[in-house]
């Protein structure tokens, strides 16, 4: 299995062919369609990460030392970016997620979509993904 770093490099390569913003967005729209939808059971206010611009729902499950994320958004480009975040961080151990340094966002020019001022829920989602990892890490150590 590829490392988090390798997957990020892979994504950067995929985006390298697009020099036009519209192409980049079209690709994100495509990715948003591939995102396994979150179980509607989790599409409630308990799982919502509220951004000013768009809503994001996130669920995490922990089995056999591995965290699996599922997520959704009411905005499509946001959903496309979520698909990338899940591809990078899902199916990993808590330690891998905690240690992950995400450089692909900058590299593919989506930095502004994760800036605190953009408040579209993505930054908060990323934080929440890490928090889940920290929580399960602590639990598994304690247990």
């Amino acid at each position: 299995m590829k490392t988090i770093k390798e997957i990020q490099e892979e994504i950067i390569e995929e985006f390298a062919v697009y020099d036009d913003w519209m192409d980049k967005y079209n690709y994100l729209i495509e990715l948003s369609r591939d995102l396994p939808l979150i179980n509607t059971r989790y599409k409630t206010s308990d799982y919502i990460i509220n951004g000013c611009q768009s809503k994001v729902w996130l669920n995490a499950e922990y089995n056999d030392g591995i965290i699996k994320y599922s997520a959704d958004s009411d905005a499509i480009i946001t959903k496309g970016i979520i698909a990338l975040l899940i591809r990078v961080l899902s199916n990993r151990t808590p330690q891998e997620i905690i240690d992950a340094e995400l450089f692909f966002i900058d590299a593919i020019g989506l930095r502004q979509n994760l800036s605190p001022t953009r408040s579209n829920g993505l930054l908060a989602m990323l934080k929440q993904m890490k928090l889940y990892a920290i929580a399960w890490q602590a639990k598994s150590k304690a247990g």
Binding site: M22, Y25, I29, S54, K55, A75, I77, N120
Partner: protein
């Protein structure tokens, strides 16, 4: 004389720039307007050769700075037709002005069980300060409902006024719907019950001529940065009788006459409400902006912008898949819309990359979004320098969005 749009555009240096290699189409004027060269030059000149603290020094620079600051106050007075110069208070903006009234009026007049009236279409700046006041005093906030077209329901407004009503605060033009509210009628009705009215003119002072004496409003507030002036400066107009009666909002230097540890006496108006070193350069820049509006002719600007608004509405509707929020017969400069059921954040992100600057989201008016059952809109807001070609580009961008998101 016809409106010389080319000259106007040339007066705004920022407009000639490109973003993402495309000509900038700035349609986010409801958030803030760009500045004409005259304003920029005035501010630079002041910083370069005239800067000095006002009302304090007796030296050459200070006296001249004070003079210019007070001249700026006169310009504002003339611009909105106030009777007295001392009825013009400089603040940090609309938000600062409303908070001043909410505090000072609240301290003097509001008691438990009293009522205040605002409308469904208010900006958070004209909601939250009143909620805070209500929390402090145990007062109650009443809300004027609106129609699906975005008009205030006048009969409901009349029904809300009673002997407990102490103040009414409504926006002149909605920053989301563009509705131009019938404030003359609102004020007249309130005054029949001896209730004072505050007008939030943040979205109107730059678009329609205002005469506070004719309107007979008790307070009127606006921001410099939305009226082609600098940011960080705003105006609170209040009738002398109110401003005299109200206690100051903030304490500090400049607003006092005599200070001892036992007792402090305050300056008369307007300084009573201008504690500390004010944003005097902002005030002087704002005066330059108002001069610019007057020279260009506010009535001509209003006519030009209105035509452009009609053109925008018509062009967007012609696409067949745009829904406009705010369809009052009386509108100014603002069009809020959604493209089918495409999320406004998706729309905003794509059209940004096409060089079109609009605002997406709730526009600091969440209760209004709840009223329409939506999470947000895309808002194009027009200024004196926008053109039909730019609206065509907006519509082309809207078409592109529709293609991409289906």
């Amino acid at each position: 004389m016809s409106y010389d749009i080319n000259k106007v555009r040339n007066d705004f240096p920022i407009l000639s720039q490109k973003v993402y290699n495309k000509p900038l189409i700035y349609l986010d004027n409801g958030a803030t307007t760009q500045k004409p060269a005259k304003v920029i030059e005035k501010i630079t000149e002041f910083h370069s050769v005239k800067n000095s603290s006002i009302h304090r020094g007796i030296h050459f620079l200070s006296e001249h700075a004070t003079e210019e600051y007070e001249k700026a106050r006169q310009k504002v007075q003339q611009f909105i037709g106030a009777k007295n110069t001392h009825e013009i208070i400089f603040t940090s903006g609309t938000t600062g002005s409303i908070n001043t009234v909410a505090f000072s009026f609240g301290e003097r007049y509001i008691q438990q069980g009293d009522e205040l009236i605002i409308s469904t279409m208010e900006h958070h700046a004209n909601i939250v300060p009143w909620q805070m006041l209500c929390d402090r005093k145990g007062a109650v906030l009443k809300i004027i409902p609106i129609t699906d077209d975005g008009d205030l329901i006048f009969e409901e407004y009349e029904k809300l006024i009673n002997e407990k009503t102490k103040l009414i605060s409504v926006t002149h033009i909605s920053n989301v719907l563009g509705t131009l509210n019938p404030i003359e009628k609102i004020i007249e009705t309130a005054h029949k019950h001896n209730v004072p009215v505050l007008i939030d003119a943040a979205q109107s002072v730059q678009h329609v001529p205002i005469d506070v004496v004719k309107l007979d409003c008790d307070f009127l507030v606006f921001s410099g940065h939305k009226a082609y002036g600098p940011t960080g400066i705003g105006v609170l107009y209040g009738k002398e009788k109110w401003l005299d009666a109200l206690p100051p909002y903030q304490g500090g230097g400049d607003m006092v006459e005599n200070v001892t540890f036992e007792k402090t006496t305050y300056q008369p108006l307007p300084l009573k409400f201008e504690a500390g070193t004010t944003n005097y350069i902002g005030a002087i820049g704002l005066a330059a902006a108002l001069d610019y509006l007057t020279e260009t002719g506010l009535s001509d600007i209003a006519r030009y912008e209105h035509e452009l608004l009609d053109y925008t509405t018509k062009s967007l509707l012609e696409t067949g898949y745009v829904k406009i929020y705010g369809n009052s017969k009386n509108k100014s400069s603002i069009v809020s819309f959604l493209i089918d059921n495409i999320h406004p954040s998706d729309t905003g992100m794509v059209i940004d990359k096409l060089g079109v600057a609009v605002r997406t989201g709730t526009h600091c008016a969440q209760p209004l979004m709840h009223r329409f059952g939506i999470d947000g809109t895309v808002r194009a807001s027009i200024a004196m320098y926008n053109t039909r070609e730019e609206i065509d580009m907006l519509c082309a961008a809207v078409k592109k969005v529709k293609e991409m998101f289906g």
